[in-house]
Subunit: 300 residues, 2 copies
């Protein structure tokens, strides 16, 4: 396993971690500067932040600082109430793929969506297998274009507590079944170091509890493991969405899981993604970033 | 599939649903009377309620009303910080088995426990596989006594959002793997109608999201399916523990799942178990019970 204790070369910051400090939106340009000042080599920005800052400007700023992406957040949300909605989702994912390409992201992360409308408390239907079918079809359609331009798609299995409203892909096994169905040449096509066209973004917050985690990480292998996200699970957890912990403050066995991921061949960034309305979003971004670096070296 | 629309013969009330109305503890004797007045034929009471009312008295009251149990809540919580804690848990489970026997319960439901101390925000350790090993050993030890007295044990897989503090068995597949390991003669020993010594309590709140649910219900079969619990998953869900919905108010496909359960041979009660600090626990118990009956007939 790689030694993270001496530097933070493999630390990436998901910009959701430091964007909403004390209820104020921190502009992406400022976050990039904060990261550059600390020698952080990678980030994972969100589409709305990039749009607000200007795609070309963000690309130039990153290049000037020598900062790369560990992923681009995010495509997905495929299920819809009707045909027009399904088409709009595909169009939007195509734009997301183009943006990811401009930013030279290693992958576009997919939060696949679930029951349409559920996020607003008004699900258009309850048929979970229909939603899962629409996800499969949406990924298949997007994958054709993603292959054309050479942008790997990374399915992020989300915690089962978000199955109704955010993503109906909820285990690593389910995500890998989708990968094998839609990208069957997958891990064993002999191309070795190349990432698969379709793989997974593994966020420990969503999968740490899974009794099949070690087995499925091994199954994924290096070609399917496109991104690795860390934070921690707090006990107790006070909110279903935004009470994630800083690494080391919760119950997740971070080093054990990174050991499994690296044994499977993953050698990329550990991306910190912390939604924390109750704690870390109330602190100055500089303090949060300094803490990320310290914890990356000590407990990740 | 059985027709529930004309009566509520197969409705059972988990007494947690109507015990904490408006912050006041409703005595178990009163809950039993409320159920009897409505022709409800089964309940599932909690050990602390039974202890407060007196075990013998509860048994007599149930018999007088012709009310049976659909399960007894609950044994489990096997993992512990040290050997003394592990032994205390086994002793307590033995007492729970004896009480279940006195009340002529069809099974003792097991909420198996997780990281010891996590429920109080102070986990004694973080090693989830150690906790899972202690659960397996605890069930094995309890099963020996349960077999002796003839009390089936029902492992309840809990939602992954409760993996740290309440139960580290989080999918039906995982629960059935445990059943097959510890009770290997399981579903196919030719004894037909007899329930297995070790099976599962299937609560749709915990498992509705699982992409392997239909498959694993079929695997369980009638001998492993010892109890079936219903409520609903609200979108949005505001609390990780006590924001369960009344059947019909959420996104769970209740009839579809009951169809799977009955296709596997289950022919027992639909037990309503709703933890709802924010809504149903704020209403009069009589209103809650009347609503349970109406929803049982219309949407379960």
């Amino acid at each position: 396993m790689r030694d993270f204790s001496q530097d933070h070369d493999w630390l990436s910051i998901n910009t959701a971690t430091v964007r909403k400090q004390s209820g104020q939106e921190t502009p992406l340009g400022r976050i990039i500067d904060q990261c550059a000042a600390r020698g952080i080599r990678a980030i994972s920005p969100w589409r709305d932040q990039v749009a607000a800052a200007g795609l070309g400007r963000v690309a130039r700023q990153l290049k000037a600082h020598g900062i790369g992406l560990s992923g681009y957040c995010r495509g997905g949300f495929f299920p819809a109430a009707d045909a027009a909605g399904l088409k709009a989702a595909l169009d939007d994912n195509r734009r997301a793929i183009d943006e990811a390409k401009t930013l030279e992201a290693p992958c576009l992360v997919l939060v696949v969506g679930a029951l349409p409308g559920a996020l607003d408390g008004k699900p258009a239907y309850k048929d979970l297998s229909r939603a899962r079918g629409e996800v499969r079809d949406g990924i298949a359609a997007s994958l054709a274009y993603a292959r054309e331009v050479g942008m790997p798609l990374a399915i992020e299995p989300l915690h089962p507590m978000q199955a109704a409203d955010r993503a109906c892909v909820n285990t690593l096994e389910q995500a890998l079944d989708l990968c094998d169905e839609l990208d069957p040449q997958g891990p064993d096509n002999g191309s070795g170091a190349q990432p698969a066209a379709l793989g997974v973004a593994l966020d420990i917050y969503h999968v740490w509890w899974d009794p099949k985690l070690e087995q499925q990480i091994a199954r994924a292998g290096r070609r399917r493991l496109l991104a690795y996200h860390v934070c921690d699970w707090l006990a107790p957890t006070r909110d279903l969405l935004s009470d994630r912990g800083m690494m080391g403050d919760g119950v997740v066995e971070l080093k054990k899981i990174r050991g499994w991921v690296e044994a499977a061949g993953f050698a990329g960034f550990s991306e910190v993604e912390i939604f924390s309305q109750l704690d870390w979003w109330q602190r100055p971004g500089d303090e949060v970033l300094d803490t990320c670096i310290a914890r990356h070296r000590s407990v990740v």
